[in-house]
Symmetry: C2
Subunit: 207 residues, 2 copies
DNA sequence: CGAGTTGTTGATCACATGGTCAATAAGAAG
DNA sequence: CTTCTTATTGACCATGTGATCAACAACTCG
């Protein structure tokens, strides 16, 4: 029973343990990232996880950062490729409200509460939120400059968008309403926020 | 050491235990409502809490309902007294984003995640959300009928408002930005959503 | 004052948590 | 093949969780 695993270089083992933790966080949330669950996921003894990680709080914070940074990078990719600000924003919203993103949403919402007893996690939450806000602000600013959006304060509008994204996604966790209706609802809201004509953004997202 | 408490009628003891649980939920969140913490809060032996409550999951769900229903009742009170729809909404927002409401916010956000392993809680979360949506829809509908708001679909706008309320409050949990800025930001958003002239709602809330 | 009802206690159980550490054995080096 | 380094194990500890239950004692009634 003692030869289930082989001996591996520390860097590789460390990566495997982190990967196992991230997978658990995506599947069952940050609160499911436990010493023993991660050990089982990596097919390793519990003690080895403790050996490669300074503390579980730290591992949870790292999982949060990796998962949400990956999402943000993906969003930035969209923002870099789509031609016009309106199209960029439309595609961004379609991506963020994709139903298959429930895992990331759970990570976010749990992070908000776990952050109260995990200061390192809280700090990273604030960091990633800042970067989200900056990314949104950039699109909104470009749209305003190009005359596509009719807005006064891009910074504030970016804040509105982020608040709405977080709020609607969080509500989805308890399966409050069918996911299909959410993206349409948000599209109408955004059109209103940005002063574009009705249907403009939703058409862009579909096409 | 065994005569700290006196003998009380079951109804009163039961109420005391529930009150202690609610106080803990408000002070430290739903996740802090434990068998022993509630017992200590009610100055009672742990076994007595278990005796008066069918399960801790149940007690947590009850705490959630009592706390959020009280908030909703307070909001309904506002909606019933203020003269015009615009004033009602302005006061509602001022109340909901009051910084002293952090406790209720924490209860909400924890409920969204705890609901995944506490089905009774999840059901009550959906119920209270439905009632919130109905209350908001009512104001928005009245404002549209009175010509104060320039909107097409009151149901959808109510959804927007609730999403924004939840989103901005949740973000406040990690102290992302100073609370003072949030209410102003929301005011501007709502003016945009409802098609009122800039500053209309914020002026109403201040006066 | 004595008997019976019942509100209340606190020890106890089974389980889960993060973390530690001596013992083990796998793989490299000689 | 032997030696040595070190990755790895799994038992162990202290703590915390929800829940159970026999024993206790406070109050009521006769």
């Amino acid at each position: 029973m003692s030869r289930a695993t082989s001996r591996k270089p520390p860097a590789q083992r460390s990566a495997e343990i982190l990967d196992a933790a991230i997978k658990i966080a995506c599947d069952e949330g940050l609160s499911a990232v436990k010493l023993r669950s991660v050990a089982a996921g990596a097919s390793v003894a519990p003690g080895l996880v403790a050996h490669y990680v300074s503390s579980m709080d730290d591992l949870v914070a790292t999982c949060f950062e990796r998962i949400t940074r990956a999402e943000l990078d993906e969003v930035r990719e969209i923002l870099a490729t789509a031609p016009t600000p309106a199209r960029r924003l439309a595609q961004l919203l379609a991506t963020v409200f994709d139903a298959t993103r429930d895992d990331v949403t759970l990570v976010w919402v749990e992070a908000w509460t776990l952050g109260r007893s995990n200061e390192r996690l809280a700090a990273r939450v604030r960091d990633v939120m800042d970067d989200w806000h900056a990314a949104l602000r950039e699109v909104v600013e470009a749209g305003a400059a190009a005359g596509e959006f009719d807005i006064a304060d891009p910074d504030e509008v970016a804040w509105h968008l982020l608040g709405m994204i977080d709020g609607l996604n969080a509500q989805a966790l308890v399966h409050w309403r069918p996911a299909a209706t959410r993206s349409g609802v948000l599209g109408h809201l955004v059109e209103r926020l940005l002063g574009t004509e009705p249907g403009a953004l939703t058409r862009l997202a579909a096409g």
